[in-house]
């Protein structure tokens, strides 16, 4: 009944509440954009080489080793920087990795690897973390640039061509063969225990310090 009696009033009320809703929505969208943009910008700022090597743990150890490798300097001038290999490209995995990185911040401020000697002591354990992760993700970060499907085997050296095709058939992943290509290998790394497909380096050691004194490759 009342509907028919006060059509004007209701429509005015409706339009007012609609305007409010629209306003709230617009403000929300604006705030959303600002926060989202800010969040992403901040996250991207932590996704640069400059940011990574602003910690001297990274700068004096792994970064120096990387500058000698093909991912730093090469004939075509394409460079893969730290996050290209160590941070996933897609958003969900990236955020997960960034959350995990807070643990790295904790150890940075605690000073757990703040000298090359301390870093060397931990290198085997840290390297195995990365290797295991890459094995688990089927070398996802490598494959942002390198794909079996995109390889022209006729352009590769005979050994590489054969090796890549065998690896593809055997369902192996990049890290199975390509360890230590951008950073020094740990002293405890024994190539004889790392035959493709039969590697012993994808599980973290029970006691990471148990084997630090041996230089397994030579006697």
């Amino acid at each position: 009944m009342s509907d028919t009696n006060e059509p004007k009033h209701t429509s005015a009320k409706q339009s007012k509440s609609r305007k409010t809703t629209l306003l709230i929505l617009l403000v929300g969208v604006a705030i959303g954009i600002v926060f989202w943009g800010g969040f992403n910008t901040a996250m991207e700022a932590t996704n640069t080489e400059e940011f990574c090597i602003s910690c001297h743990e990274m700068e004096v150890n792994v970064y120096q080793e990387y500058t000698d490798t093909i991912h730093y300097t090469n004939r075509t001038g394409v460079r893969a920087t730290c996050p290209d290999c160590h941070v996933p490209k897609d958003w969900v995995h990236k955020v997960v990795r960034k959350v995990q990185a807070t643990n790295e911040l904790y150890h940075h401020f605690k000073g757990d690897v703040d000298t090359p000697e301390k870093f060397e002591t931990e290198r085997f354990r840290l390297a195995q973390n990365v290797w295991s992760q890459m094995k688990k993700t089927d070398s996802r970060e490598c494959r942002n640039c390198h794909e079996f499907d995109s390889m022209d085997y006729t352009k590769q050296e005979n050994r590489s061509s054969q090796g890549h095709q065998d690896a593809e058939d055997a369902g192996l992943t990049c890290i199975d063969c390509h360890k230590g290509i951008a950073h020094s290998l740990p002293m405890q790394y024994d190539p004889e225990k790392d035959a493709p497909g039969r590697s012993e380096f994808y599980t973290r050691l029970q006691d990471p310090h148990a084997d630090t004194s041996t230089t397994s490759a030579q006697e």
Binding site: E157, N158, P186, E192, A195, P196, R198, A217, Q218
Partner: protein, 139 residues
Amino acid sequence: MQRPIASLLAGVALLAANVCAEEVSSLRGHAVTDDSDTALNKQTLALPGGFAVAWEEQPPMIPHPIDKYSVDLRQNGCLKCHSPATYEANKAPVIADSHFFDRDGNRTQKVAARRYFCTQCHAPQAGAMPLVENVFQTR
């Protein structure tokens, strides 16, 4: 052929005796490590199947580039494919048994220390022209 070389050597010896060692000249005309040497910039030959061995017990030459592998205190990159544990998976020739004995003839578990530095005997080959004529006949 012999005499000019002999006199050159004699001259070089005299020079070395008189002046400092840096003035010794090689057949190349400069130090082997000189960056301007075009032979240094030649690509290493990659030869599937490997180079023929010229005489018995010759250390086989390396038929592929090795600049991505290092042999140092940390590790020996050659063992990645040529060790007894890995050669099958990598379809590579395996290190000869003779490399697993120390100088007293005792068997070693890993590659003997005196055999550890592979490139002391095994060399990669560049596609460079020989500096002098080579009349060596293979077996």
